[in-house]
Symmetry: C2
Amino acid sequence: MTHVSDATLRKFVGYHMKRAFNVVQADLAKTLKPFDLRMLTYSALVLIVDNPGMRQSQLADAMDIERPNLVMIIDELERRELIVRDRVPNDRRAYALKATLQGSQLCDQAIKSVVAHEEQLLVALDDDARANLVTALKLIETSLKRDTL
Amino acid sequence: MTHVSDATLRKFVGYHMKRAFNVVQADLAKTLKPFDLRMLTYSALVLIVDNPGMRQSQLADAMDIERPNLVMIIDELERRELIVRDRVPNDRRAYALKATLQGSQLCDQAIKSVVAHEEQLLVALDDDARANLVTALKLIETSLKRDTL
DNA sequence: TATTGTTATACTCTATAACTATA
DNA sequence: TATAGTTATAGAGTATAACAATA
């Protein structure tokens, strides 16, 4: 056999999503490597910069991961002094997450690099096609939630 | 803080792709559970049904995974008697993978179920929007390869 | 009682090096 | 020497149960 047919799998949108997402993910990982960030540490840092004072449980919620899995991510960002665990007033159980100056500066640089790399990935799509893509992805993301309304 | 802003991340197509893909992946896993299949065992089974006699190295290539990681997948499908490892004539190193009757029947049922579930995910998209989505995903998947031409 | 963060644990997916048997 | 399949191993991401401190 010299040629492998994926005719059946090709009919599924999920198949194309997995393949495209793998490319995006690999490229993002490569883009973030110079900053010593991964997708998860990057997402967490961006969200903390944008939402100073947020709690870990809120961050886990926003990132769609379980609380225990966030602990090591926050540990890593804190160890590198990109964020700090401040105390929430009137609730000594929780931490108020805040980016340091160093953290928000690294975040800005990383965002610039990610923007440039994403532009390369989307170079074949015009503005309309990009808008339609995001719209379609949002509809898919919320399709099952809408079912239960 | 009562509201978390993801304004920065929302600007990235990759962010929307991750979220949409997570939904698709979770739904697919749930859909395949009654058949005792995972995404990887499902993809492998479909490809073997469509390409009887293919070798493991070809299958790993088609699935975009490393050869060692395919071994347990094939082991599992073989143990459940959904496929067999036949011998390739004139090359005693390689196996010719073939689905059993039981395997191709399970595959047909699984495909039907996946088709139905995917229809639910895409219910908000008309035919045009679906075609545009697949086109966009294919362009993203091949964007970096085209760069190097 | 319930919640926040944490520890421990386990399972899946992925990646690499090294082995065996064949070619 | 090169290739097909295998073994062993390690890392990342994810999920659950259970705990201490606090509400």
